[in-house]
């Protein structure tokens, strides 16, 4: 186990561990929930985990480009949430539910 985990005093490794944990929580949320809103929120959680990792690497290498990338990821996340929630409202209007199992028309 000691060869798998480097020393825990390395602050960059701690941030790597934290953002991996947050990303996996987001993945588990996407898998186990059926409410579309919760799935969207889990995707936001994954995006934030990646942002945290990018800021960590930017701090580690003394390079501001990583933080600019985080800025662009936030832009894309905002646009994605806008369109996604509009689609969600439309789905709710058409099917009367936000359960993801109600979207089974493509199933043969």
């Amino acid at each position: 186990m000691n060869s798998f985990l480097p020393e825990l005093s390395n602050v960059y490794f701690n941030y790597l561990l934290l953002s991996s944990v947050l990303f996996c929580i987001g993945v588990i949320g996407v898998i186990i929930r059926k409410n579309i809103i919760i799935i969207f929120m889990s995707i936001e959680l994954m995006l934030n985990a990646v942002n945290l990792l990018l800021v960590n690497f930017s701090n580690m290498h003394n390079d501001p480009n990583g933080q600019v990338f985080v800025f662009f990821i936030m832009v894309v996340a905002a646009a994605e949430v806008t369109v996604g929630l509009a689609i969600l409202v439309m789905v709710y209007r058409n099917t009367g539910s936000v359960n993801i199992d109600s979207l089974k028309n493509l199933k043969g």
Binding site: V11, N35, L52, S58, H61
Partner: protein
């Protein structure tokens, strides 16, 4: 001191993130997600990225989460009785899959955290300031910046078109 702050903020963010996916009521999920975003902003401050901390609070906690709350209240979804039922087996399988993904991610990425500080002559204190980021954003990344404005325009138009009552009445 910094280590202590890191541990406190990490515990808050992981606990709130677990609340997001395991709480039944969607309103509580949104509020836990706001707590997660605030703690991540605290992490940004610890990592000397002050500009991104403020932008994170404004954009995520301020705009995106208000949008989520607004949609939940608009659609009146905060009743918990018509909730999903997943079997315990599939939940357990999902948690095991997530844990395996965690192990493989850490194993894949751990080497990159062991060789820090490629020096490029910049002080680590001022890479996160508005001045430095603005200079980089408007010199090296000016084309993606403009393209993202087009992206926003198309997102606005898409949201308006999708939100219309009936697409055929115009």
């Amino acid at each position: 001191m910094e280590q202590l702050l890191f541990i406190i903020l990490s515990v808050i963010s992981v606990a709130a993130a677990l609340c997001v996916i395991f709480v039944r009521n969607p309103i509580y999920s949104v509020l836990s997600l706001v707590i997660t975003f605030f703690s991540i902003a605290g992490h940004y401050i610890l990592l000397k990225a002050q500009f991104l901390a403020i932008v994170n609070i404004i954009v995520y906690a301020g705009a995106i989460m208000v949008l989520f709350l607004f949609v939940i209240m608009l659609l009146n979804l905060n009743n918990t009785e018509n909730q999903e039922k997943r079997s315990f087996i599939s939940k357990a399988i999902a948690v095991v899959a997530g844990g395996l993904l965690l192990v493989s991610l850490v194993g894949l990425l751990k080497g990159s955290a062991l060789h820090p500080t490629i020096q490029n002559g910049m002080s680590s204190d001022d890479i996160g300031t508005v001045q430095t980021l603005g200079k980089v954003l408007f010199t090296d990344f000016v084309l993606p910046f403009e393209i993202s404005s087009v992206l926003f325009l198309s997102a606005i138009i898409g949201a308006v078109m999708l939100g219309k009552k009936d697409l055929k009445d115009h």
